[in-house]
């Protein structure tokens, strides 16, 4: 009972383009970065722009190093806030989606309010939250508000995307609801959930920053966004830029970390991860 050779595809088909395109995908963005920095530097030098209007890249880097004791601490504060908001969003979003999948009543009752929370700009909610909650909790709550919805909606989409044939198979073999959830629904929803988490990672940072800026006006904060607002008031523009660079870098690292997690979990079987390899 032997049959044609298995189509071990990944090696032959995907291998070749990988070698050609791979380095370019890394080298091109780096080239653009270098070109941008060079142009920035030239514009500042040739026009003799004063640093309190636009500091050159060299000065920003020097500020970053010189102010590291302050900025590093602020980075920690902001990252911790974003992380707390992200974890709350991930757990809350998935849990809520699971509840909704169990009860249409709950879904119909609560989903509209989840949407309202999502479409209301967080920067407008933050000042209110800062009145009612302790500052740290308010900032985490803002991070949670912006980040939980993509997790919720993607998990819901994933749980509803179960193959009907497989659902029939589980029914045939008398699977309990818990077994169906564990062996069928969760794995089927995993790619969607990871997509939601990837969006939520960046959003939790945005939520934390928005809340910190709102709180910064009240004058008691220590996160990176607070440093940006504070430096703005003091016309310390190089430090503003340095803090901004750190924020962007943090966002990129969060995104890359979640993309890596997604890749590691899906690479054996999911189409998205397979294409990514090429």
């Amino acid at each position: 009972m032997s049959e044609a050779e298995p189509q071990r595809r990944q090696g032959e088909e995907n291998g070749r383009p990988h070698h050609r395109i791979g380095p370019l995908r890394v080298l091109l963005p780096i080239a653009v970065l270098i070109a941008g920095v060079v142009v920035w530097d030239l514009v500042v030098r040739l026009n003799e722009i004063p640093p309190y209007v636009l500091p050159g890249p060299g000065l920003v880097v020097r500020t970053l190093i010189a102010d590291w004791p302050i900025l590093g601490e602020s980075l920690q504060v902001t990252l911790l806030t974003a992380l707390e908001g992200f974890i709350a969003a991930a757990v809350g979003g998935m849990a809520l989606a699971l509840l909704f999948s169990q009860s249409k009543w709950l879904e119909f009752s609560l989903l509209p309010y989840a949407i309202i929370l999502q479409v209301t700009p967080v920067i407008a909610i933050a000042p209110l939250l800062l009145i009612y909650l302790p500052q740290h909790l308010a900032v985490v709550a803002c991070a949670w508000i912006v980040a939980f919805f993509p997790v919720l909606s993607n998990t819901m989409l994933g749980l509803n995307s179960v193959d009907r044939g497989l659902a029939g198979l589980f029914k045939l073999y008398g699977a309990s609801p818990l077994q169906t959830l564990r062996h069928l629904k969760m794995p089927a929803a995993l790619p969607y959930i990871l997509g939601g988490l990837r969006i939520a990672g960046g959003l939790s940072l945005i939520g934390a920053v928005a809340a910190e800026i709102a709180a910064g006006a009240a004058g008691s904060g220590s996160g990176l966004a607070y440093r940006i607002a504070e430096s703005g008031y003091r016309l310390n523009i190089p430090r503003m830029f340095a803090a901004l660079v750190l924020l962007s870098a943090a966002g990129v690292v969060i995104y890359m970390g979640l993309a890596l997690l997604s890749h590691l979990l899906l690479r054996r079987w999911h189409e998205s991860a397979l294409r990514k390899e090429s």
């Binding site: 009972m1 049959e3 044609a4 189509q7 595809r9 029914k171 008398g174 054996r268």
Partner: protein
């Protein structure tokens, strides 16, 4: 026997009948009567094909037997030892599509029915290995479904149906999407399995040639709502490639084709 089923699934009398459908119908609110009334008996160990035009309700009949759907009227009865051991399941079902979990290896896919029945790991391992060997996929246990060809995926699906050691195998056009060469090979493999394991097989197909080649009896269905129009015994001992090219085979094919034409002719004007 099927475990604790609804009122419509009684047990058939111990007269060697494995599957008995009596006056079974299935109606949908929006589309009206889809099937029946259908009467059909399959003896234990028999290989019967259910042949009919697309949309006549063959697959629906299979789903009713498997308990995946409830009949609107009539009785579906299954008998069998229902295998006393853990993870024993009286029905093995092979869908039109391979219906494999893309996130699980071949081994874990085949193992699924045992996992769901809480079969101890060591015994499950042994039975999965046995089922995979039976369909010729012993070496591919750790491979993911995407790496397999269509024919091999179907073999995995077959192994999964066999792993619970069911009394009855229900196959819903399992080879319809495969190329002819692969289909012929799987036809022969299925016959070997049937001969070796002595299962009752109900095989749904829309191919006259496949039904004649495989089965001891072909039940021809009318167009929707499907009823049994004719039953033709295929009295052949050796089914092999010689049979496929024999005059007997051609004769049976003609006979079944005529029955099928008669079945749709009696409903002329309704079927296209």
């Amino acid at each position: 026997m099927v475990s604790a089923g609804p009122a419509s699934r009684a047990s058939a009398s111990p007269d060697g009948i494995a599957i008995r459908l009596s006056g079974v119908t299935k109606a949908y609110d929006d589309r009206g009567l889809a099937l029946g009334p259908l009467d059909l008996e399959v003896r234990a160990g028999e290989f019967v094909s259910l042949l009919g035009p697309s949309g006549c309700g063959k697959s629906t009949a299979l789903r009713l037997i498997a308990g995946l759907s409830e009949p609107t009227a009539g009785q579906v009865a299954l008998t069998g030892r229902g295998s006393g051991r853990r993870g024993g399941h009286s029905i093995g079902y092979v869908f039109q599509e391979p219906t494999l979990m893309p996130w699980a290896t071949v081994r874990d896919n085949v193992r699924l029915p045992l996992t769901l029945a809480h079969v101890p790991a060591a015994e499950a391992d042994r039975r999965v290995t046995e089922a995979l060997a039976r369909v010729g996929l012993g070496e591919f246990a750790t491979v993911y479904p995407r790496e397999l060809s269509g024919g091999m995926k179907m073999r995995v699906s077959l192994a999964r149906a066999l792993v619970t050691d069911p009394d009855v195998l229900l196959l819903d056009e399992p080879f319809a999407a495969l190329d002819e060469i692969t289909r012929f090979r799987l036809n022969n493999d299925l016959l070997v399995l049937w001969r070796d394991l002595g299962k009752t097989v109900l095989f749904v197909t829309h191919s006259v040639f496949e039904s004649v080649y495989l089965s001891q009896r072909v039940a021809v269905m009318t167009a929707r709502p499907g009823r049994i129009a004719a039953q033709i015994d295929i009295a052949v001992e050796d089914r092999n490639e010689d049979f496929r090219t024999s005059a007997d085979y051609a004769g049976y094919c003609r006979q079944v084709s005529q029955a099928l034409a008669g079945a749709s002719g009696s409903r002329s004007g309704m079927s296209s």
